[in-house]
Symmetry: C2
Subunit: 143 residues, 2 copies
Amino acid sequence: MKRLTREEYIEAIHVLQKPVGRAKTGQIAAHMGVRPPSVTQMLIKLKDEGLVDYEPFVGAKLTPKGNALARELMARHKVIADLLEILGIDRETAEKDACVIEHHMSRESAARLKQFVEFVQSAPRDPQWVERFRKYCEGGEAR
Amino acid sequence: MKRLTREEYIEAIHVLQKPVGRAKTGQIAAHMGVRPPSVTQMLIKLKDEGLVDYEPFVGAKLTPKGNALARELMARHKVIADLLEILGIDRETAEKDACVIEHHMSRESAARLKQFVEFVQSAPRDPQWVERFRKYCEGGEAR
DNA sequence: CCTAATCGTTAGGTATGCCTAAATTGTACT
DNA sequence: AGTACAATTTAGGCATACCTAACGATTAGG
C-alpha cells in the first residue's frame, strides 16, 4: 500500500480549510483515503513541527509556516501538472501524477521544469513544435 | 531518512550483476547507501517473490522475471533522466531525480514522456526551440 | 435537557525498511 | 593445514505510517 507523506497532508489541509478556515479529521481522512485515527496521529506530529494548529475535536488549520509550505508545494504541483498537460496527458491523470511526483524531485529540477512550462506558456500560443508533437503522438511522424 | 523500494534494489542488482553475473551483498549495500543486513533481508524477500536468484554467501542475480522488470524500470528511468537533461539539468542530478521519480508515475504519463523525449531526440538535432529555451534560462527572454 | 447517533481520539497491533551487535562462513597467507 | 581477517548472515530493536476495536466527546431530535 502507498504511504502518504507529511507534505501530502499539508496539501490536503490547505485545500479543505478554505471554505470554513478549518479542516476536520473526517474530511481529511476521506480526502486521502485513510482512516481517521491515522489522521489524528499525523495531525499531532504536524502540530509538534509547528505546521498546523490542531485542536482535538475541533479541527486543524495551517500555521503561517504551514501555509508557506503549502503554497510552495502547490506551485510545484502546478508545474508538473501543467507539464504533463502540455504533453497531452488529461488533466485528471496529470493532477494525480503531479501529486505523487512532486515530493520526490530536487529543487533544481523543479525549478527548471517551472521555467520550461513558463517558456512554453509564454509563447504566442501553441508554438509550432507543440502542434507537431501532438501530431507525432497521434499519427506517425510529422517531421 | 529515505526508504528504498524493492524496485530500486532490482535496478541496483541489474547494474552490478553485469560484470560477473552476480551482485554481492556488500556491493549492493555500498551502491545503495544501506548496511549489509538490510540487503540480506531484502534479497530474501525478492527471492520469495521470484525476482532474484539469491544464494547465501554467494550473491544474487536476477531471474528472467526480475530481468524483465529491470528492463522496464531502466527504460522508464532513462526517459525521465533524458527529459531533465534536455531541459538543461546536469546528468548527475537528472539521474538522481529519475531514480526517485520513476516509481511514482502512471504508465500513461511515462509513455507520453517517452514519446516526448523521442520526439525531441529524433529532431535533426537541437531544434530551434531547445536552443531558445536554453537562452531563456540563462539570459532573460529570447522570444 | 437528555438520549441517540455520529464523529474523534486512545490503545494496541501490523507491516516494512532500516539499524547495531554478535555469530558464522569464506578466504588468504604463512 | 591453521589461523587471522573480511564478508555475510542472524538476532533483536527502532521508526513510521497504517489499521481495528473500544472508549469519550459533540451535536441534533424529541
